[in-house]
């Protein structure tokens, strides 16, 4: 695809621009992570665990924008790779407590550096000032949406 060949109606439609940008971002990121056998959502979960400490699967889902029902398999995989521990919450309930392991922290560090390289590639057309501007605008659009 050559996006400069796209119809004006699409090129000026925010929802289309967002999905197309997301598409190329996903492609760049996935390709980068492929070499490590890692997935985008695993990074999100590990980042949430490191920043906020142990959490339930439902919390992780809310924080990362991942459905709780998808979180099950996600935590299964991370747990199988010893990047997180999953244990029933001693406080009771059905709740699990998911904790990042030292292996998980190491993995997170690796993924972080890899991903930051990809961001540079993705945002190459923009100046540093424009990049922070874009980040700010995207955060505000996202924060403006309430759902469920």
């Amino acid at each position: 695809m050559d996006s400069d060949l796209a119809p004006t109606r699409l090129r000026q439609l925010p929802s289309w621009l967002l999905t197309q940008n997301a598409r190329i971002a996903t492609r760049l990121v996935s390709h980068e992570l492929d070499a490590l056998g890692a997935h985008r959502r695993q990074f999100a979960v590990l980042a949430a665990l490191e920043e906020f400490g142990p959490a339930s699967q439902a919390d992780l889902g809310r924080r990362c924008g991942i459905d709780r029902s998808d979180m099950v398999a996600l935590v299964n995989d991370l747990s199988a790779a010893d990047q997180v521990d999953r244990a029933p919450d001693p406080a009771g309930g059905r709740r699990n407590v998911v904790t990042i392991t030292s292996t998980g922290r190491k993995r997170l560090r690796t993924l972080t550096t890899r991903l930051s390289r990809v961001q540079d590639e993705l945002l190459a057309p923009l100046s540093a000032r424009e990049r922070t501007q874009l980040i700010d605008l995207l955060q505000r659009v996202l924060d403006g949406q309430s759902w469920r």
Copy 2:
């Protein structure tokens, strides 16, 4: 999800912001189009046909960022709904010529007004000036990528 609860590592990661914004944009758009039995990519194809005139399926794919192999079923559906005509190119080759019909133009007009309402909803947190800024930044990031 409450995006303001997301880890800093995610909230400042452009690729994550793009995919999350794309997700909510897709949800808003799809929900709006559901009532009409329409799909997002149908709008893209119709828009391309109206702006550039009859085109091959491969051209449509390049213009709209849709894989040629997915374009087959897409044109099948549009054709079944009499929104486009598909005929072998008299110039020869395997190429088809896809043409928008008057039904298709009417459909495109309906979809356009519906979609512009959704954009307002999506970009509600931004001023008019910020919206054009966002559009500009997204266009430039997209244009900066060359692939295949």
